[in-house]
Symmetry: C2
Subunit: 377 residues, 2 copies
């Protein structure tokens, strides 16, 4: 029995800097920018019950839409007790300022002129909203993939404002990941309907975006899962790939379908912008070095790798966790066993409920505890 999707108690928009330009790490600025956000539950009087959930590449502020398992039976996200916040990232097509927003400087949509945005920019914008909401410290910041990047960036850039940090399937992207992201973006640009980024939103480059999504889907899943689900079966419509070039194997039909439904909910230019934030994530940015950045962390951190993730291999995630530990932060690493690949943070979210509960319940580490970890005690 499927439960009905939990609706936010509030959904609205926040104008950054009162409408002043929002400067970006790339050197550009958005003349005006706003964030779309959603709230589940209520802030308590002390405003210390807020949990920020950061979404991944194609997610939205409506956390319960894409991570419903975390709300089930009020565990780990109990909206009677906690105030759960979702904030759509800059560059997205789910309400915050993005490529399809009108640039007030020109009166036209940004399109391909939308500047390069970083995870750090996204988090800085979020921090402004969190401050506006009167929240001095977030009980926890959670996320997977680029959501996990945001959670870590929060812990580094706003150490006093985060008690707990949960990041799954996130690390600096490897060369193979950079390669696959590049090819995905090129798929979009190859589609003649892209028109240099200046397409009408009603006629976006669907073929290129579908191919990008297809390749991304390969990188989000695992070979074992594909073998289990599709094997070498021909497409279920009855095509015979041994006879005709147009006929497909089942896995190809699946990818095409994933691409098709993706076109109905996502914008190609947003894809270009947010995919790039995954590439450029680097906790060293704005600090002397990564080690220097990590030393700032005051939150209790839980870093989770996924055994079959080949976009963010567990070895890379583990290595990042070790660098955080070496920087003297309270950080645990756990590897989630799954054959779902990177996507396990969504497909098998249930398995992470105790892990997130640990972060939500624990609060910030005591100073003494912090000192003990990292010195090997």
């Amino acid at each position: 029995m499927t439960q009905p999707t939990l609706q936010p108690d509030f959904e609205g928009d926040f104008l950054l800097g009162g409408g002043a330009p929002f400067a970006l790490e790339s050197g550009s600025a958005l003349p005006q920018a706003s964030l779309h956000y959603a709230i589940y539950g209520k802030l308590n009087e002390a405003r210390d019950n807020a949990i920020l959930v950061c979404h991944a590449l194609t997610g939205s502020a409506r956390v319960a839409d894409w991570w419903p398992d975390l709300f089930r039976d009020g565990h780990p996200l109990d909206v009677e007790k906690h105030c759960v916040l979702g904030i759509n990232v800059l560059g997205s097509c789910y309400g915050s300022t993005g490529p399809q927003s009108v640039n007030p400087a020109t009166g036209k949509r940004y399109g391909a002129d939308f500047p390069v945005v970083s995870i750090r920019d996204i988090v800085r914008a979020q921090a402004e909203l969190i401050e506006h909401l009167g929240i001095r410290q977030l009980r926890a910041v959670l996320g997977g993939s680029i959501g996990g990047m945001q959670a870590l960036q929060w812990a580094v850039d706003y150490p006093e404002r985060v008690a707990g940090c949960f990041s799954v399937g996130a690390a600096p992207l490897s060369a193979m990941g950079l390669a696959l992201n590049h090819l995905q973006r090129e798929n979009i640009r190859l589609d003649p309907a892209w028109l240099g980024g200046n397409y009408d939103p009603a006629a976006q480059p669907t073929r290129g975006l579908a191919l990008a999504r297809g390749l991304a889907t390969c990188s989000y899943k695992s070979s074992a899962l594909f073998t289990e689900r599709f094997g070498r079966n021909p497409d279920r419509s009855g095509e015979d790939p041994r006879q005709s070039h147009a006929a497909r194997y089942d896995v190809a039909g699946y990818l095409d379908y994933q691409g098709k439904i993706f076109n109905e909910r996502f914008d190609a230019n947003s894809y270009l912008v947010i995919s790039r934030t995954m590439d450029t994530f680097d906790l060293a940015r704005g600090h002397v070095s990564e080690a220097d950045a990590l030393k700032r962390i005051r939150a209790r951190v839980l870093v989770v790798g996924i055994s079959s993730d080949w976009l963010f291999p567990p070895a890379d995630v583990h290595a990042l966790a070790e660098r955080i530990q070496n920087a003297n932060a309270v950080c645990n690493y756990i590897e989630l066993h799954s054959n779902h690949g990177h996507d396990a943070f969504l497909a098998e979210a249930s398995n992470m409920r105790p892990l997130i509960e640990y972060i939500v319940q624990s609060g910030a580490p005591h100073a003494q505890e912090k000192d003990c970890v990292g010195c090997g005690a």
Copy 2:
């Protein structure tokens, strides 16, 4: 010091069936088909010193051009002693009948009308040429990737005509491999210059073919190799991917370059046709079952998996070797340790010299030896 490339002692073309239509497994037929082939060394009088080397997706009949290491110091391929044959596959753009050939039935190039060809078709055509050359038994058939598929197909379909079979990085393609091949072909078809396959060869769909080659390159290499070579470095031309959407990381610049040089030497329609042969390879074809097919093998077989190959994972290659062993054939499996991925059969060919030497020197197994293997003795 680089040695000059060994030149073939003979290079020519062979008309299949004396110009009669060549029937294909897909149910179609080529109205007329010829094979381009190269010979290094000379057939001895007994015509029992021939070694057929089958090329991979983008290779050619000129074996020494792409597998020079195997000829170095006459080891394992000694052209004073052996007669080494290379035959370009049907569908290729290196001389055999392919999509850019003129269809005698229409007087126009085949283009996208070129039919689906299988590994089995390719091998049957080769067998006709081998017969024409008066060779009753090949001392060995060797190959990697779809070359390895051809070698195995030879051992199954022409058991009495193959003494030794060497196959590296080949197995029935997994669902992930089918997915990646599908996306590559879609890349080509997405390029407006593809024109439904009817482009002028001088104006082929370079962007789509380059993207296909880029994705294929990812599948041929390993994540570890990319990390070692490119890491997270920006493109060597000085681009800054943190500032501009057009700027690339080094690995992206590398893929673009690979795509660019590939365009100068390969045809997009040939790519579509030969990529499909990789998909459809299945030794059961034309036989009651795979087990039934494998029972036909009389050659000594050496199957090699590559530790970091994720297009043909060593587990899949090993499993195929075990099925061959279970079918009572003399078959050994060896795993080559390399971080070069699938490409190791070319990039680290030197490491395979003793393995190929074993197959070239051994000849067919004795009946008794054959009986012993498989019964666990």
